[in-house]
Subunit: 248 residues, 2 copies
């Protein structure tokens, strides 16, 4: 039975890693956890790829978070825009779960250029696991290669990745979304207050009554928010503020 292929200590490691992902807020911490995953898998090359499907189109490049892939390899892939034609990422975006590079290449033949690069870095065989979510709408893929023995226990790999990856995906989403917050425009207390009422569908006049200040001042605050959020009108301001989590 599968249960026996995992040592008790390994399961404890998995539980610890899962637990740690729930409080992972920085990229550095994520890297640590990813190292833990790599150790568990017993491979020497790992890299993460995260793609938001929120507003990005399929054409915008994904976030790459390298753990131990050759940097030069990823750089080449990115420079030559090869990820768009990479059957592995295409398949990974389409369906969740584990794919073997070999299988995918047999199924959808990759551009020769890609194969050449891959082989030149010794990346002959490996696996990519992808996991998607609706909230936030996005996909995380982890690629692992450089296994010691050519004989890999697929079921063990699947078991570990199935159980860990959803949490790595959540943590990564959190880290990357949170990272964006750093250069967030700072709204003043009054501005947030006005926005919150706008959100409820109140007019300037109504808000002026609620806040007991003049209607002109409400419009003044709205104007400032529009400038800060770089939008054309209050609709955009409300939507953008909600999107950035600046209200409520």
């Amino acid at each position: 039975m599968l249960q026996n292929s995992l040592a008790s200590g390994e399961m404890m490691d998995m539980l610890d890693i899962i637990h740690a992902t729930t409080s992972c807020r920085t990229m550095a911490r994520f890297q640590e956890l990813a190292k833990g995953l790599q150790n568990l898998l017993g491979c020497s090359k790992t890299t993460f790829c995260w793609k938001s499907l929120e507003q990005d189109t399929l054409l915008t490049p994904p976030h790459l978070l390298n753990v131990s892939f050759p940097e030069q390899f990823l750089k080449l892939l990115s420079e030559r825009r090869l990820w768009r034609q990479n059957p592995i990422s295409i398949r990974g975006m389409q369906q969740e779960g584990l794919q073997s590079w070999q299988d995918t290449f047999n199924l959808m033949s990759p551009p020769k250029q890609l194969l050449d690069i891959k082989y030149s870095f010794g990346l002959y065989s490996g696996y990519t696991f992808s996991v998607a979510s609706q909230r936030p709408r996005g996909v995380t893929m982890v690629s692992t290669g450089g296994y010691d023995s050519p004989k890999i226990e697929i079921e063990r790999l699947k078991f570990i990745l199935c159980r860990l990856m959803p949490h790595f995906h959540l943590a990564l989403s959190e880290v990357l979304e949170h990272g964006r917050d750093k250069n967030l425009p700072a709204l003043t207390g009054r501005e947030v207050e006005v926005l919150s009422w706008l959100k409820e569908g109140k007019t300037s006049w109504e808000i002026s009554v609620i806040l007991k200040i003049s209607e002109r001042t409400i419009n003044f605050h709205v104007t400032n928010v529009k400038k800060k959020l770089n939008v054309n009108n209050r609709m955009g301001a409300v939507a953008q503020a909600m999107h950035l989590g600046l209200v409520n």
Copy 2:
């Protein structure tokens, strides 16, 4: 060491439960998983309590999800609004982690009425674990009582709950938020399209150019959306649609 107090099979159960929470979408499924947690803890009485801090005030009652508490007990608590004065829930809302009922009652004395009811149902001692999150902003508390032996391994309890509860919390948030979606107003394709552009801060005229229809028709769609979402103006429509996840 703590590691030894958990059997290999129990850790496997934990991993399986965690994994199952990631795809838990119905209340029935959640109940199953909660039963699994109860078995793991080795107690006979469990109940979950979920509270959104998104827009609810502290006064609005929380969602109760009973697994195996006496229904009558929870009914009494709810009818007499005792949860507001219950030191356990107050403390649970304030800080995450494990609390012993006994400790809390020593710290903040409960209303006599509450104590009487509790004892009359044989709920002498037990533990409540709470976990909170920012996105979605809310708290889940689980209360467990009715342990076989008076000698409970606190560290074991803490270990299990620390690792499982964040995932139960997420699952519960998902289930409860998803459940709300059922009586969601159905927007037509065109309405969603118009809303999406509104969200970007486009004016009616601009959208009419984009969609190649008259400005009047844009306003027509906006009017219909406003009626469906029961809001006063487009600001409210955009905000409400975003909040309900009807756009994007």
